[in-house]
């Protein structure tokens, strides 16, 4: 237990063989659903990134290389559990069948945008899918997960909260405050650090990673800390299952460091070759999570290259169709929600200020 924060929990070896210790023993069907969600996430990212280049939206962020994390955790946890995501957790929604068209509409801020044009692209909210409201500021929702989990314990139900924070963002006071409350009140929460080794242009050492691991920060709060290969679908699943079990049995919070790698740039706004070796991403530290799961399925005799190619073609088709549908409604600036939505939702009931200002704007 005392060494877990310094090791690395891994199930899939280099050739895709599953080692025993942490193997969650999932059915081939489950593995294939995971593979599909990961491929869908990647295909969607690639397509929307292009849409941004084409000026169809203002902003986009990819999670290339990190797909195994949100996908495995989304599948492993229950529909009543709540995820407090970062902008790199879109796999959560993909794994739960969130309608692609709704995502596209939000990203285009068009007339059908489920967030009514109020939010930057990909800063989703999807309560019915256990996906809490995102915002541009990082870190500040980590503690909400702890409060949400405390409420769940207070009500006596067995729902758990799972939250993500990036390696760089662990430096915010929010991280410490969330963990302190989680420890003091034994909140049924799973707090995850997605250590993709980069924070925009800063390597994880700027967040303290040269001094110790992120999992080791659990020790400061007397909490168990697991360090997990985040590109290993099976390891992520197993560690999450272990933490969820603890939480549901009122044993409290687990901190999980998910060691991964940010393959793409930070967002559409930066060029990573300005701050890291151009060839670094090509080397896929830890290996491509999709390839690793694919190899595993092939070894199990459940999968092959032809079916894999077909699956890729299938998810790409789904994405293409959704984007077409979204473009038909309209891309950024070409279509937008009813202007009145700008003034709605500041409070539950509008007060005189927005009512007057609506009039001032002539709507």
């Amino acid at each position: 237990m005392r060494d877990l924060p310094y090791g690395l929990i891994r199930v899939l070896d280099h050739d895709g063989r599953a080692t025993d210790t942490w193997n969650p023993r999932l059915s081939p069907d489950t593995l294939l659903r995971g593979l599909r969600a990961m491929l869908l996430t990647r295909a969607f990212d690639d397509r929307m990134f292009r849409s941004h280049r084409q000026g169809k939206t203002s902003f986009y962020m990819k999670s290339t290389g990190e797909e195994a994390i949100a996908v495995a955790q989304s599948m492993m946890l229950g529909s009543d559990d709540m995820c407090f995501p970062t902008y790199r957790a879109m796999g959560w929604l993909m794994a739960r069948g969130y309608p692609l068209i709704d995502m596209v509409n939000q990203i285009f801020s068009n007339a059908e945008d489920p967030l009514k044009g109020r939010q930057l692209p990909i800063l989703f909210s999807a309560r019915a899918y256990g996906f809490y409201s995102l915002s541009g500021n990082v870190g500040s929702r980590f503690g909400h997960a702890v409060g949400w989990a405390m409420a769940s314990a207070y009500k006596g139900d067995d729902k758990v909260a799972i939250a993500y924070i990036g390696d760089g963002t662990t430096a915010e006071g929010d991280f410490h405050e969330a963990l302190t409350f989680a420890s003091v009140y034994r909140a049924p929460a799973i707090l995850c650090v997605t250590n993709n080794q980069w924070a925009i242009s800063s390597f994880s050492g700027i967040a303290g990673a040269e001094a110790t691991t992120f999992a080791a920060k659990a020790i400061a709060y007397g909490l168990p800390g697991l360090r997990v290969d985040g590109n290993d679908f099976l390891a992520v699943w197993a560690a999450t299952e272990w933490a969820a079990e603890r939480a549901r049995n009122n044993l409290g919070t687990t901190l999980i460091e998910l060691f991964t790698y940010r393959v793409a740039g930070h967002s559409t706004s930066d060029d990573p070759t300005r701050y890291r070796p151009a060839e670094e991403p090509a080397h896929w530290p830890l290996g491509d999570p999709v390839e690793r799961l694919k190899q595993h399925l092939i070894l199990l005799g459940e999968w092959d290259e032809t079916r894999h190619a077909a699956l890729i073609a299938e998810v790409e088709a789904d994405v293409r169709e959704a984007v077409k549908a979204g473009e038909a409604i309209g891309t950024l600036g070409k279509s937008k929600p009813n202007l009145a939505e700008m003034f709605e939702g500041v409070f539950k009931e509008p007060d005189w200020r927005v009512i007057e200002q609506r009039r001032e704007l002539g709507i």
Binding site: L115, N137, G143, G147
Partner: protein, 334 residues
């Protein structure tokens, strides 16, 4: 009841009425709070309903928001309003914006109670009045009672409100109606009509000001401790002023304000916070925009100075009745 008892009664009432109401903050549990507002609540309602928190204002508010998103109605205490600043990002970036940005999927039905204001020789960090930095934030409500009856009714309304409410308690009024004449013997709430506070549930709606005194010569806008200072100042000036207790600054009862100033043609604004960029500026601008052709004199602001709150100079900083009286005379005579 004094204001402490009235607030305690509001919390007790809501704890008994609504299992979703939880109360937490530094020292609020076993001890009952440094100002005794939560006294006896843990004993009566249990450790799960009223408990102590770590010294982490950001953590307290983040926890409250998360609980609110999961269906509870948390009431958090920040021990002094001066110490609300470490939670400012949580209040502004999260609580205030959650409903809007999620298109109504999530919201923060939280109440943040905090004692504010001076007059107790608390020095720079136990005396400040931060209402202006909340009033500017779209999505936050800010309420400030001036007497026991309102304190209980407004607090219950704030707790039942589905939006985040900053509830600032004038600590100098906890035990009695202080009118700024610090050289006079202390008065308690005993005998004051507003001290006769009903048991059980009632509300005073957010966004309705109270006309404390009717008058024709000039309108005085005040809230919290300054309502009582205003009474003394008006008396000292001997002018027939109309005194409006705003009670909540967001939502603001603009109609009552405008109606009064259109009647009197004059307006003096009183607050304890320092002047520059204070809420008085917004009030002055609103009155000027809506009553321009009715104004017979310039709108005056009587406020704390543009300095920190200085310990030894408490009564030189505090905008007392004498300064208000001077402004009132100047205003009605111009």
């Amino acid at each position: 009841m004094n204001m402490i008892q009235a607030l305690n009664s509001a919390l007790d009432t809501m704890l008994a009425r609504d299992p979703d109401v939880l109360i937490f903050g530094q020292d609020v549990g076993y001890f009952g709070g440094v100002f005794r507002v939560t006294e006896g609540l843990q004993k009566k309602h249990g450790l799960r309903r009223c408990f102590d928190t770590p010294i982490s204002e950001g953590g307290i508010i983040a926890t409250a928001i998360g609980m609110g998103a999961n269906g509870l109605r948390p009431v958090a205490e920040i021990q002094f309003a001066d110490y609300i600043l470490p939670a400012y990002d949580q209040l502004v970036s999260e609580a205030a914006r959650l409903r809007y940005r999620s298109a109504g999927e999530f919201w923060a039905p939280i109440t943040v109670r905090s004692p504010y204001g001076g007059g107790i020789f608390g020095g720079q960090t136990h005396s400040q009045s931060p209402e202006a930095i909340f009033a500017h934030i779209t999505g936050l409500k800010t309420v400030i009672p001036s007497n026991p009856y309102d304190a209980k009714g407004l607090l219950i309304a704030a707790i039942e409100d589905d939006d985040p409410v900053i509830f600032l308690e004038p600590k100098r009024l906890y035990n009695g109606p202080f009118d700024g004449r610090h050289d006079q013997p202390l008065t308690t709430w005993a005998g004051d009509p507003t001290a006769d506070v009903p048991e059980g549930h009632y509300t005073v709606p957010l966004g309705k000001a109270a006309v404390v005194r009717e008058g024709d010569a000039v309108t005085v806008l005040a809230y919290g401790t300054m309502v009582h200072v205003a009474k003394a100042g008006i008396e000292a000036a001997g002018v027939d002023a109309e005194l409006i207790d705003l009670r909540s600054i967001v939502p603001l009862d603009i109609d009552t304000i405008v109606e009064s100033v259109r009647k009197t043609g004059r307006c003096v604004i009183l607050h304890e916070a320092s002047r520059f960029g204070g809420f008085g500026g917004e009030l002055s601008a609103l009155v000027q925009e809506r009553c321009f052709y009715h104004l017979e004199a310039k709108i005056e602001r009587v406020t704390g100075w543009d300095t920190p709150y200085p310990h030894a100079f408490e009564w030189d900083y505090f905008p007392g009745p004498a300064r208000l009286a001077k402004a009132l005379k100047a205003c009605v005579e111009s």
